[in-house]
Symmetry: D2
Subunit: 338 residues, 4 copies
Amino acid sequence: MKIPVGIVGISGYTGLELVKLLLNHPHFELSYAGATSQNELKDIFPSLAGVINLKVEVADVSEIKKRCNLVFLALPHTEGMKIVKELKGSNIKIVDLSADYRVSLENYEKNYCPHLDPEGIKSAVYGLIEINRNKIMGASLVANPGCYPTCSLLALLPFASMLESKFGVMIDAKSGLSGAGKSLKASSHFVSVNENMNAYSPLTHRHSDEIKEHLNLNSDANLDVMFVPHLIPLTRGMLVSAYAVLKGEFKDIQPLEILREFYKDEPFIRIRNEAVSIKNVAGTHFCDIYAINKNGKLWINGGIDNVLRGASSQAVANANLMFGFDEKLALPMLSSQI
Amino acid sequence: MKIPVGIVGISGYTGLELVKLLLNHPHFELSYAGATSQNELKDIFPSLAGVINLKVEVADVSEIKKRCNLVFLALPHTEGMKIVKELKGSNIKIVDLSADYRVSLENYEKNYCPHLDPEGIKSAVYGLIEINRNKIMGASLVANPGCYPTCSLLALLPFASMLESKFGVMIDAKSGLSGAGKSLKASSHFVSVNENMNAYSPLTHRHSDEIKEHLNLNSDANLDVMFVPHLIPLTRGMLVSAYAVLKGEFKDIQPLEILREFYKDEPFIRIRNEAVSIKNVAGTHFCDIYAINKNGKLWINGGIDNVLRGASSQAVANANLMFGFDEKLALPMLSSQI
Amino acid sequence: MKIPVGIVGISGYTGLELVKLLLNHPHFELSYAGATSQNELKDIFPSLAGVINLKVEVADVSEIKKRCNLVFLALPHTEGMKIVKELKGSNIKIVDLSADYRVSLENYEKNYCPHLDPEGIKSAVYGLIEINRNKIMGASLVANPGCYPTCSLLALLPFASMLESKFGVMIDAKSGLSGAGKSLKASSHFVSVNENMNAYSPLTHRHSDEIKEHLNLNSDANLDVMFVPHLIPLTRGMLVSAYAVLKGEFKDIQPLEILREFYKDEPFIRIRNEAVSIKNVAGTHFCDIYAINKNGKLWINGGIDNVLRGASSQAVANANLMFGFDEKLALPMLSSQI
Amino acid sequence: MKIPVGIVGISGYTGLELVKLLLNHPHFELSYAGATSQNELKDIFPSLAGVINLKVEVADVSEIKKRCNLVFLALPHTEGMKIVKELKGSNIKIVDLSADYRVSLENYEKNYCPHLDPEGIKSAVYGLIEINRNKIMGASLVANPGCYPTCSLLALLPFASMLESKFGVMIDAKSGLSGAGKSLKASSHFVSVNENMNAYSPLTHRHSDEIKEHLNLNSDANLDVMFVPHLIPLTRGMLVSAYAVLKGEFKDIQPLEILREFYKDEPFIRIRNEAVSIKNVAGTHFCDIYAINKNGKLWINGGIDNVLRGASSQAVANANLMFGFDEKLALPMLSSQI
């Protein structure tokens, strides 16, 4: 029998991607779909007509408790922790895709708002598998990392302890529009986006501190992070270019060798021999990485599918581990591009 | 043990899509990849790095004979029939994605060039499953339909015998750029295509006569076809708007009822309640159809993924039938869009 | 001294294009900008920073009366006629870009809503210059045609009297997203539009009856119109493919000759020798047309910039004529594409 | 009488843009168009049909000498200097859009190939008006800057002497596809570019040393440059994000004030109050700049139209100055976007 799984916040992009991933999962079965209003799933996502029939219900914790062993919270921040709190004490495992449990209380309250569940933060595990695999295995609450932090951390962590802290790291990130979510904003109108590009929230984006916290937590570094995300006219995909200065003793490193060694057992990290192309990771769980050391200055280049590796497939990978399954189950490896 | 399968012409878009489909197939195994030059598959398609290791060989019929029970020919016209001829007498089943066996000798030589295998045309089955399912099951050579004919015929066939032949059908089709192939042409340059659209080969496109032949062959109609394809700035997807006049006795038909009845047992035809969106079929084997009768004039609207339902997944569906498998095996149902 | 000109509804796409055209006009000067709220023009359109400083005022008819000799109403339907009514009796010439005066009372109330100014309809001139040049010269109220009607009528009118009325005309139209306006709709979100295409309002779009009325009014024809517009992932541009059957006596016409003769004195109609490309008309006032007669069946292909020839530059052309100026003043001829 | 002007290399994107700019110029008249083969200009650029009739000739220096007082060389590197050499001694003023005279001999031969005209380099003026206005006025040979250097230098020069040389500057640049030119390459195919993005020539792009040379030449700085350009799926536009560390004594500067002061008399530099949007500069000669100082670390953000300010309109601006005209003549200020 399959494990009954719920998704709360099913009507957004990450909700849809979770549904599609679960449809291919051998052990999980989507049994509960919650949103802010009732609907047929195929009316929200007409592409699912003829594929799955499921009623979307008004999200209700008592139903989740009755009908799920695992729940994905695909919600805006603050909405995630409300449900986590209500589920406390149940045996339901939770992967929270909101920002609510990703960073320290201090970091959270600086960037978001007062936290409703400070205790929860301590027990939550940051769901970046390549770093926290073992902790995730025993976790009942996993905070699914943000998309920019996922890509930035995977690119930077192998080098963190080799970098000049005086300079820190400069991260120039580029994301497709799915990262901006489904809600209607002037900045997401086709006419605004098409034939345009621009930085947004430069140096103030909330993911900046998420990157910094986990970069320093997972290394002996104490690096400052300058983070500038850009909006790019495509739907799916995220590219990171990180710039840093190597400490004197590391100024001659071969970054590709370091990357290959660091990630040698990782099935979803590919070290490339040339600059990363989003085409190769779109539709997959892969993170592609490339790097160059030029006279002691380092350029690191990473790319992911922001909705999958940066959200939904990472959430499924975390759930796989939490239930002791092969972490690769149902994770997509084939690019949707040609 | 899986059935060993070859692809000749693997370096194009349809070759890549075939590879990806076969990687998910429970009974077929890609054992031979032929092209015009030697290479690593992952060097042609960097998205396949970490997924499959396969050497691409210079296509050689004697190798195919030794190593394949099934071969997909993803080749330009004339190249398909050369290999088919050489494979004659072997037990290898063939799905030819070129134009070489799709139409009558006369029709072929009018639209393409002298045919090298007129006998072959007679034994080949036109691989439009919804129409020729039984014939395909026994076939050893299947001619995989063109993309425009696939979408146009699926939209039109339920109505063919109801249409005024004096008027015929007017087909206004729109395709994404993958339909134009991977070769470098001024008309495929990003700067040419982006923020542009235009008809091409209006009323003279070769698919016009393919549509006409099979439309009349599969009905008691004798309809002329006006066919105008358009190039649209997107990668994947094909939309057909067909216009026709209903004969007097059919002027009050409910086209959606007719469609639902005609396709009631078909798992990959979805009758929609509103105009078709490419988003819903992109990445899938589905053909979505919608139609309106307005005072005896009919508008029929169909949409497919041109590289999948219009080429590679249709080829796999044909192969499934030729080997007696469930035709749905490995056919994608989940849109790659969000 | 230049003629003082106002724009009401300046914050939309047509408002912006009007501003840009007027900045290049030798005789008109933008002196009044009205919208629903106060603002700096450069704050609504940051591209105008360093180019023009103008306060946008809450639209107020008494101000218009004091400060303008000409006003462009770039408003939604019903909003146009409210202002027209209030301006009655003044000497201010009006180009109304809304739908309010484009069609007969009956046609309007069928497609829109009750009309507030039925008398006005009679005095308004339909501003399709190639057809109504002389009437426009003496007009004080010009109804600027819809974008689809502009392109469809220019393509069809030369042939209207030659077409089989039993069949009518089938118009398959494709538009970029600017045609859908600046307001925030799920169907205009970048992620919805990108890599998608679809018909909308098939056979029921309001422009259908506008086309039909003026097609029959300006010819001895009595043609029915089947009109299906499609949304295409680009910003600017509109393509029309019209299908029709020629009457017996016209079945051998050379359509390019007819077009060249019909438009021989027109500076902004270009008869092409191949299918129309949107690239060539984007950013200009041109309408490009091409046509083929195949055995008595006709395909006519027209293309315009929907925001310019289909709205703002057509409005300026009308204003030029209303004031007795050379109609070509300030009309753009150079494509914005490369 | 207007000054007769030639363009050599008219069939590329910069050639087309030059034609369009010259059509609006009050004092220059396009009298000579050279390319590698004979043609009608409107057959190369169908958008110019009905606008200009001009024969394109096989480029021939003796004709240029007879018929031009000014010539724009819109040619690949090495082709530019060949013609410059042949024109030596004539009175013809030259704006060379190739790379041939932009940098020192050493820098050139490191990045390109042996130089054919080392003397010429010394007499050529680097045509970045905001820096070299006076020198350009007296010049007979102007080297039109590269697109990336134009945008990077305009963003960086106001700060060059304030930056920590140990760190240097990290320039993350993004360009639309027009920057890759009109020639057919796999990397410019629509299907490759659409829904993709990637860095190219990271840290090795030839513009890197052009930026470095002029950055240090025009300041007392000695800064190293890490330059990584990216290909973005849009046609027109270039964005630069530059990262640097301020020297201790400058760690509290207000970068917007510095920019406003530095460029206070410049009509085509706009200092923005938020991150630069390509939409605002597309189709214009403007360079928009924005910057933030965060704890002594600086982010500078610049944007231009790569084909205009990064090539053709900059060339016209240089020509304006060389002939003593108002430098603003014919330079576009109105964005082509809405």
